[in-house]
Symmetry: C2
Subunit: 391 residues, 2 copies
């Protein structure tokens, strides 16, 4: 029975994989999902800090010529307290000495021997207060985020050099079909190269999973059963590509049943990707994805990527934007929710790409997004807003 | 002399690093820059292909009951030509047999023994024509693209299992300052942890470069000279962080001069990041980046990332969008082009983040973009459009 995309998504969203967590070196953590709140073990700034290179003195003395009583490089501590009529020459990042509550910039100062005069007009104190950015115990990075390069400085600052991250989900991939040869081989008559499995592996890696490729299952039920059964025992989520439509050799549904997989849906009203199948066995999940590379790419993005990231505790959501269509769009039938490869141009307009159908593999490299054409809609006018999901 | 950001960018854009190219396994290629046009060695489809599971016959016969003369699994070739009143049962992806010019779907067919009748009404032939997607010799992926998972199926399809990609630029990083301790250590009085170098390494990796961290240069000119000279000989672009403002220990400019580096600019009217310095020595380039982590992050994104990707032959451009401001923005002075950390919310509105200045490191993890506040502008009203650059 064909179900709506939203229903299928709801069914899939009830399932996730239990994954543990592990500590990794923080420099290996970008792309991983943070599995703990990271708290600071220090104050930032750790002390009242000079925000500029200059002279630290008492605010009431800034009109006077001042005696320079010491030089404070960053990383050292003042030896003296700044008294009346005095100042300390201080470098950016150094701790402001006792007695001082004002730092004027070296650019606004005239130095003569061991004396200096402030020539500027600003009354800004140029002091970054102790703990104004971070206090000891503050959460600086929250559990569930996908770690980015811009989180690295925060981790370094608070000494979180081995953050706890979710273990990678193990995603297995099996291709099916006697017509397939591996990419390094030249296809013979009636054959094509296996492209889906490799694309799914690359998509799995981008989603933060560990990908295991199990090879091509031939058009032989027993051999396919053995491959599927073996794979199910060795991964968290198994992706099968091909073999789920209605041909005589499409015995994948029967093989899954024989492996003890309970099928939760096997036809979804989406285009491309109608025969997408989802099932569960013990703690493993299985997707039967269509054999066409555009379909399998899209179905992975719609179902598998969110599931992988959710299982790892991520708050990831697809990046979907409402943008105007560059020229009118038309399709013949509106019985499925369509995801159409589009390119968002420099003016934020949506260009529908030349796309012959779900096997039209070279439509994807040019695409920057998938335009959603709702159920029942067959025409969208130029300039109308559409939902575009980044890919 | 302080120059405008646009001038600085123009100066930097005149320079690039000569990098070679290398063949890599296609599964290791995502994120790399493609250094050749990839052409197809096959037609896709390689033959007139059944787009559905069904029955291949002559279009003029579709009203008749037809004799099934053979079964054609995908990957095999028909043994017979389809004659008048005949058809072949055919699987998705198999080559349509000679004589046939129409395939009707198994879902729209009633089979009785070795005979079948088409019960549907569609006149669509369900045949994907030979070479309709790709012809032999067609360019399927263009030189200069950053390879994505969605390119992998195309590479697999055309057998490009070892694409030629640009060699990674070698980016060296040196931190400066006696106040720094490494992230694994607890800072003593007056000290802070080194966060910039690690962030720059993570940014370099994201930009597709190879990153080499050379350590912390102490506040000692000779030692700093030795470290910089050694690093310059071992990387394509050297990033120094800290030591470029005006303190007594900021001898980085002098060290660079002594190493034979020709300084092209050393002050840019941007906020944060005014003391950003750029120079060249033989075939190497050097950036002196500010010691504050937000400044150094931003300056890397503005200058280094485009330079790295351009050097590797990429057509990458920053993703900049015009979006409406969620609430009014004000700043004291308009003498620099500002890049302010912002978060784009679910309604595509720009929220300016609480941001204490260039050392306020925890403003970055929450940011999804940098809002550009032009030179001379100190106020922007709620709802006004601003340029936001994704980070």
């Amino acid at each position: 029975m064909m179900i709506k995309f939203e229903e299928a998504l709801k069914i899939a969203e009830a399932y996730s994989i239990k994954t543990g967590s592990e500590n990794v070196p923080f420099m290996d953590s970008p792309g991983r999902v943070l599995a703990e709140d990271i708290r600071s073990d220090i104050n930032m700034p750790p002390f009242n800090k000079a925000a500029v290179d200059g002279f630290a003195c008492r605010r009431e003395d800034i009109e006077k010529e001042l005696l320079i009583n010491e030089v404070i490089p960053a990383g050292t501590v003042a030896k003296k307290v700044v008294g009346e009529g005095e100042c300390a020459k201080i470098m950016t990042g150094a701790a402001v000495p006792g007695g001082a509550d004002f730092v004027f910039m070296v650019e606004d100062a005239v130095e003569t021997g061991n004396r200096v005069r402030y020539t500027g007009s600003s009354r800004k104190d140029n002091i970054a207060r102790k703990a104004e950015d971070i206090s000891i115990g503050d959460i600086v990075l929250k559990k569930g985020r996908i770690i980015r390069p811009q989180d690295i400085a925060v981790m370094a600052t608070v000494g979180a050099t081995e953050p706890l991250v979710s273990k990678r989900i193990r995603l297995g991939v099996i291709s099916t079909g006697d017509e397939l040869v591996e990419p390094g081989d030249m296809p013979g008559e009636g054959q094509i190269r296996n492209s889906n499995a490799y694309q799914l592996v690359a998509q799995s890696i981008r989603a933060g999973a560990e990908a295991l490729y199990f090879g091509i299952a031939p058009d032989n039920e027993e051999q396919t059963f053995n491959m599927v059964a073996g794979a199910l025992d060795n991964c968290d989520i198994l992706l099968l590509t091909g073999g789920v439509s209605m041909g005589d050799f499409d015995f994948v549904p029967r093989v899954l049943a024989n492996c003890g997989v309970k099928i939760l849906f096997d036809r979804v009203a989406v285009q491309p990707g109608k025969p997408t199948t989802f099932g569960t066995r013990n703690s493993s999940l299985v997707f039967g994805l269509p054999g066409n590379p555009v379909s399998s790419f899209v179905q992975f993005e719609l179902f598998v990527r969110p599931l992988v990231l959710r299982s790892m505790g991520s708050d990831w959501r697809p990046d979907t934007r409402k943008l105007a269509l560059a020229s009118a769009y038309k399709r013949k039938r509106g019985e499925r929710l369509a995801f159409v490869p589009v390119r968002v141009d420099d003016n934020e307009m949506v260009e529908v790409l030349n796309y012959h159908g779900s096997a039209h593999i070279n439509a994807l490299p040019d695409a920057t997004g998938l335009m959603m054409v709702p159920l029942g809609i067959t025409e969208i006018g130029k300039g109308e807003k559409v939902d575009v999901r980044s890919i």
